[in-house]
């Protein structure tokens, strides 16, 4: 998978950050969203450690949000996806597409629908 260095779990988390957007992309919400989307439950700690790893790799940036009343005035760390992160996701998707197109039975369908732009 070239030099994207993105694991399956990391990729999903990265996508979820993109989906949740500015307000909700913090550890707890991402964890919940992960459970809703995949049906797999995972600890906040695991998600948090992945988020910080993704940040180290430069796929994400983060900053502390504003204090709100709902959690005793404690601030959240909001993550947002970087251009590099977005690019990596696209490369990862394209790579999979190219693999799928080579896959005997499904290749036809994809080609027929001109699924790959």
């Amino acid at each position: 998978m070239k030099e994207t260095k993105l694991g399956e779990f990391e990729e999903v988390i990265l996508l979820l950050v993109g989906i949740l957007g500015e307000d909700d992309a913090y550890s707890f919400k991402i964890t919940q969203e992960f459970k809703d989307q995949t049906g797999r439950s995972v600890s906040i700690g695991a998600v948090h450690s992945t988020l910080s790893r993704l940040e180290e790799k430069g796929f994400l940036t983060s900053e502390m949000g504003k204090a709100t009343a709902e959690r005793g005035g404690r601030r959240k760390r909001i993550y947002s996806i970087t251009a590099y992160g977005r690019r990596t996701l696209e490369i990862s998707r394209d790579f999979k597409m190219s693999l799928w197109r080579q896959f005997p039975q499904f290749g036809f369908e994809f080609d027929g629908l001109n699924f790959s732009r």
């Binding site: 707890f28 790893r53 959690r71 005793g72 404690r74």
Partner: protein, 876 residues
Amino acid sequence: MQKELLEKEKFKPPKLAQKFLKWFLRNDLYEEVEGDLEEQFLACLEEYSLLKAKVNYWYQVFHYLRPFAIRNSKLIHLNQFSMFKNYFKIGWRNLIKNKGYTFINIGGLSFGMAVAILISLWVYDERTFNKYHENYDHIAQVVQHTTANNKIYTGTQHPFPLSDGLKNSYEEDFKYVVSATEIQEHIITNGEKNFNELGNYMQVDGPDLLSLKMIKGHRAGLENLHSILISKSLAERLFNMEDPLNKIIKLDNQDELKITGVYEDVPKNSAFRELAFIAPWDLFLSSNTWAEFYLDKWGYDMSPVYVQLQPKAKINEVNYKIKDIINNNVADEFYNNDQKISLHPMDKWHLYEEFSNGENTGGNIRFVWLFGSIGIFVLLLACINFINLSTARSESRTKEVGIRKAIGSLRSQLIYQFLSESILVVVFSFFIALGLVSYSLSWFNEVANKNMEIPWTSPFYWVTGIGFILLTGILAGSYPAIYLSSFQVIKALKGAIRSGHLAIKSRQLLVVFQFTISVILIIGTIIVYRQIQYTKDRPVGYNRDRLISVNMRTNDIHDHFEVIRNQLLASGTIVEMSESSCPLNTYCTGLGNFDWPGKDPDFLAGFSVFWTSPEYGKTIGWELLDGRDFSREITSDQQGMVINLSAAEYMGLENPVGQTIKHDEKDWTILGVINDLIVGSPYESVRPSIYMFAPSVSQVASFSFSPDISTQDALRNIESIFKEYAPGVPFEYQFADQLYAKKFNNEVRIGKLSSIFSILAILISCLGLLGLASFTAQKRTKEIGIRKIAGASTFMLWKLLSKEFMLLVTLSCIIAVPFVLYFSGNWLDNYEYRTNIPWWIFAFASLGALLITLLTISYQAIKAALMNPVKSLKSE
């Protein structure tokens, strides 16, 4: 108000978890994480109970124990921790730097540990013998102690009424009392398939007593007279994949029995390992019509009896109660012997199986001690290598010790350091040893006739393994640690420390110890082999070559004896064939009621009796010393007997031939005297034996092949005869020479094992010596250079360097002598027929040890002696 507060308090995350989180979490993360977790807690609370939410909170907290989130606190990276890291780093560098010594240390230790592991597996297996049976601590076999001629003989056969007698009179003590037959070969037939299988007849409670693990059916399967329980492996052989339950099989081509149960095969380390089937005891009684006569007779010993005690019963008390039950019941005036019984508990069957004069004296436990101590000693030898090399090479590390001390290392820290180094070495060795063990286990199993496995998954095993590592590490490392850490700082830094007198002396002592052990093991091995060879050379008294015997459980061959014999003789297949009551390798009948002229009336005589057809002597080729053999033509020979030399001496007859012996109120004439045949153990003297002509005997058929025919052809001819006349009997034969060779199995096994161990012992000792020799040569490089310049020859230098070690090994050989004499004398005392220990064995072994030593050290000595003095003096 208070209540409300409490309510509020209640719906907060667990405080302890929060504290814990605060304790380990990085400060900069704390705010966001705590917020997230609280949100999670509330979300959880909405859906589930408070308890579940709290548990979940704990769960979330624990999942933050990840490297990224944990603070870089000094609490985690203790100073001690980095010190240990440093110890291992330095230790590792030392290992890498001195590859030769490392190889010697690790190589020696791994061999030593491998031997120790193998032996401990073996000891474990021996000690768990019979423990497959759940109630092994309550099971016992009844043994009988008969007093005759002021000696007590112990046996396991008992009169038929004993089991009911015990059951009825001592109901409160026994849970089960089970009569059984000895485990013997029987023919099992299913349609076309027939096999010779080992099994026995048992009373109904037998399977419960043995706690057999039933795969199909149930343990009470022997209640019906025509039922049988079979082992899983036999079921597979008989029926492949089919369900064996309720199928009908034939036992000894006679009884048709329904399979009412299949049990898991009994493992190899049980006395009942061979049990392939169990048939009902009542069937044994009803199908052997002769048994009826003995059913209520207390004076005839017929069968083994097993018991299981009630949980509360104490074996000593029970023993006391039951000891006279036979004496009290025997009504036969003919039996006036004293016959006491006692219980031999199952956990002693294997290791304490011998009785001498009525006392349980021991037995296989000897080998547990013998091999156990060999294992410990071999490991000790390897540890000594480590000790010697580390103390000898300590000088190279004096500076390190000095600097560490100067910086502020405590002595205890230095001890830790050297101990952790030795544990590092031991851990490496342990894993190499595990590799060696798993590689050699199948071989070891074969030699030791065992079925051992490495219990990889047993936590007990790993705990023992770790304990073993620590023990060996401390054993090998403690002396070097204490010695090295005792250096004084200033001297150490100045480099003024030379191995002290004491250190050299203790090193020499350890070398002497190593070689003493090795020499003892070598001489011991030689003596074992000598004993085996000596016994093998003992005249056997008959011709074992090209002689086979077939155990017969039907009369098919007997009924056609004449025809078969004529056919085989005519086809040139055999020289002779015969039938007998006992196999060639067992005394199976002992009788006492013989009377001869000049017999002391108080003497209770006992003979081994063989009933045979008249061709027996010619078939096995016994050696007639006096008189003549049986003859079928002379009808009066049916009242004749042939006796062996031991019997003639036992009876004290001057001219035995022609004498009349009274037996069963009939007169028998001695026709001839033969040389002793070795029937039982070749280490024991031959029992006085009587061979009698019995026309009805059919238990064993023997065939001696004609010299003009190949073995394969002879076997093929005999097999076709069997197919013709005994179609239901599997043709399974045994060669007489192989049967005889089996008698040496035990001793050959000991010989093989002890030779391997002694070779390893000497190898390990030599490895250590090699290390020491190269170290001395290195240390004396300058001295040798100067000596060479001064005109010393290579030979003189070689002598100089070898002298010390040669002296030590010579000393070891001398020290070994009394130990060897003592231990091997003890061992040989177990054998009635035994070799002596001649002096040349010691000379030979000592010479061998010296030669090996010389070879080991000469390489280093000569290398040092040949070195160019210019080079060796140039440095510095």
